[in-house]
Amino acid sequence: MRTILIRYGLYVRLSELAQGVAAVVHEVVDVVANDPIARRLRDFGFVRGESVRIVASGPIGGDPLLVQVGFTRFALRRAEAARIQVMVPATA
């Protein structure tokens, strides 16, 4: 499983990123073969080098997350956000 990469150094899953902390997308991981959710996330602009930030989270269980990428905000469930590996810059 490629998801073992989580919490490796400064790389975390987007679902684990604290609210308001700026990070940069590393990659979107397919959970199943040819994952349609992962593909849609890439269409939305979750691609390497793009900066992301969690703006808000839902009232129950902190789910879903409101994520800013590019000029747009998307509501992602935690399971969806977990597909996105992000890097938190060391200066933070």
Binding site: G58, R73, A75, A79
Partner: protein, 616 residues
């Protein structure tokens, strides 16, 4: 020349379509308003004529939902009965270029003649976004024009461009991407985004990524506690307003209908049968429904304002977790909210739901949302049985009861969805993936058009199905006439009376009298017809006073509550069943819906009636 409007969701394609063709298609501020292709025509200053297609918004040609599939098929020239467009008019929101340009670049690969309309340029300027359109046009290799779709003349540059365009014949393009490997698609996605970034860095300057006002509003509206409080307050205000604001208009309509009926009745005294048809049939029946027009318009005023403001996707965000545990998705929120107006557009709006399971569940529970056709029935019974007084000084008790009825519909819908989820064997992941648009101040003109359209639809129903069923019912309750020497009212001997007394055996356990039983039969076609039918039946039985006072004096509270419970569930709307058949392409789903809704209706009424009778 054949044109098609293509672009990402919520970039203003339909507003541009309306601007170009003078059309009145529905516009709102969320992704997925347009779910079908729509056709319109216009001509340029030189007299050149254009046929324009408005297409559902799509994030990518790799369609993820039924509405995106329409756009993909039209772009590839594969849509049945639709030729390949000669020119694609790509539309992009100038304030959301990072996302929208990617799709434009994907479309460019089709190799078709294209033009890019940079829409919402007014909003972009307000936010201090500067776009060098010439640089942009050079970088993406297609002409670029600026538009403001919501402003008169805001599409002038686009029309002039289209008018002077020379077309080279477009060749069909094979679909290469689907065959490509996953790795290739991934690199490809990164590739297009990299191009977008380079282009934006070169041609666009943007002071900040989002509008400052959006951030400020969202801090409150999406707050964990305040967000929910605001949502509840907004919903509650709507139901209060429906009762409190509509009252004077309703009184006016009733007085008007009574005056005309009295005048016509007076002129027809020499022809008692015709007088009965006009006064007891047409005026009592149609007038009984017409009086609810103000309440329906007030409900729509709120729904349309919310749709235009961009608040609805926020509400979906707040409720997603709750809906997920019931087996739905936050995406179901907008179709379900539309179902408060009418289940038909609500069920059609489910086309923007990607997951087929979520979509089917949403379709099956949409009829449980309290549609505006139920409002006449609720309003009649509430006005007759619930005293007009205020609770704690601010709440109108009648509005409160109405609110409870709406909540009953919602709670049962969630319970049914939860049951469907439990029954389903496929438990794989469902997706949310929803864009939250920028807030917009609702456009009074759009709202006025929306209200006009809704008012027209209601009036067409009144003049069409409601009027005709009322007349048919009048005949059924008039013939055969009473035998000589009869002591009971004549209607007891008529076909409708016989049928009503017979049906009464089935409905007696839930407290319905035979008049209600008669009204339920034509009421199968459309819910409001039950009100017009009751009005006709009681008028035929010799009750000259208004339906509301007749009901208040002749029904027990238990019967009234039982009928309210019945209306929360009963699927008495042929058009809804037809649209379920069309959207799911399955009669089985229709029969399941009919069966479970009638079952729940009878059960709920039985419990309500027996409890209320025991307590009384």
């Amino acid at each position: 020349m054949q044109l098609a409007l293509v672009g990402s969701p919520n970039c203003g394609k339909t507003a541009l379509f309306n601007q170009l063709t003078g059309g009145r298609q529905k516009v709102a501020n969320y992704a997925g308003v347009t779910i079908e292709r729509k056709e319109g025509h216009f001509s340029g200053p030189s007299g050149r004529s254009f046929r324009l297609l408005d297409l559902p918004g799509a994030y990518s040609l790799e369609a993820a939902s039924p509405d995106e599939a329409i756009t993909r098929d039209v772009c590839y020239g594969r849509f049945p009965g639709e030729g390949t467009p000669d020119l694609l008019v790509c539309v992009a929101d100038a304030t959301n270029l990072r996302l929208h340009l990617r799709f434009v670049l994907e479309l460019r690969r089709l190799g078709r003649p294209m033009v890019l309309a940079l829409n919402m340029m007014d909003a972009a300027r307000r936010r201090g976004i500067r776009i060098d359109t010439e640089k942009l046009a050079r970088a993406i290799g297609i002409p670029v024009v600026e538009t403001v779709a919501v402003q008169r003349g805001g599409a002038k540059a686009l029309i002039e461009h289209l008018d002077s365009t020379m077309l080279t014949a477009s060749a069909p393009v094979a679909e290469g991407q689907t065959a490509a490997s996953v790795a290739a698609i991934q690199t490809d996605a990164v590739d297009l985004h990299a191009q977008v970034r380079t282009i934006l860095a070169d041609a666009v300057s943007m002071p900040r990524k989002t509008a400052a006002i959006d951030d400020a509003i969202d801090r409150w509206v999406l707050h964990r506690v305040w967000g929910l409080v605001i949502l509840a307050a907004v919903m509650f205000l709507i139901f209060q307003a429906v009762f409190a604001w509509a009252q004077p208009f309703m009184t006016g309509i009733t007085a008007g209908v009574d005056a005309v009926a009295g005048w016509v009745g007076g002129a027809l005294t020499s022809m008692p049968l015709l007088r009965s048809l006009i006064v007891d049939g047409v005026f009592a029946g149609v007038g009984g429904v017409l009086v609810f027009l103000p309440q329906i318009l007030i409900l729509f005023l709120f729904i349309l304002t919310l749709e235009e403001s961009g608040y609805l996707p926020r509400a979906a965000f707040l409720l997603d977790r709750m809906m997920l545990s019931a087996g739905l998705t936050g995406r179901s929120f907008i179709p379900l909210l539309s179902s408060f107006a009418c289940a038909i557009p609500g069920i059609m709006a489910t086309r923007s739901i990607q997951d087929p399971r979520d979509r089917l569940t949403t379709i099956m529970i949409a009829p449980l949302m309290t549609c505006s056709a139920r409002l006449p029935v609720y309003a009649l019974l509430i006005a007759a049985f619930i005293p007009q007084r205020s609770i704690a000084g601010i709440f109108n008790l009648q509005g409160l009861v109405l609110f409870v009825l709406y909540v009953a519909g919602i709670v049962s819908a969630l319970a049914v969805a939860w049951f469907i989820k439990r029954m389903r064997s496929d438990k794989s992941e469902h997706a949310l993936l929803m864009e939250l648009p920028s807030y917009r101040i609702p456009h009074p003109r759009d709202i006025a058009i929306g209200l006009w359209e809704r008012g027209r639809i209601f009036m067409r129903r009144v003049g069409g199905i409601i009027l005709s069923l009322t007349i048919i019912l009048w005949f059924l309750s008039t013939f055969p006439g009473a035998p000589p020497g009869a002591t009971d009212p004549a209607i007891d001997y008529s076909l409708a009376g016989i049928l009503g007394h017979w049906l009464h055996h089935i409905f007696a356990p839930i407290g319905f009298n035979w008049q209600i039983c008669i009204a339920l039969v034509p009421g199968l076609a459309a819910r409001e017809v039950a009100v017009s039918s009751l009005a006709t039946v009681y008028a035929m039985s010799g009750n000259e006073s208004a339906l509301q006072s007749v009901v208040a004096s002749q029904w027990s509270l238990a019967t009234a509550l039982s009928l309210l419970a019945w209306y929360v569930f009963a699927p008495q709307c042929i058009s809804t069943l037809a649209v379920i058949k069309r959207e799911t392409n399955s009669w089985r789903n229709v029969w399941i819906a009919v069966g479970y809704l009638f079952g729940l209706a009878y059960l709920a009424s039985l419990i309500t009636y027996q409890l209320a009778s025991a307590l009384a």
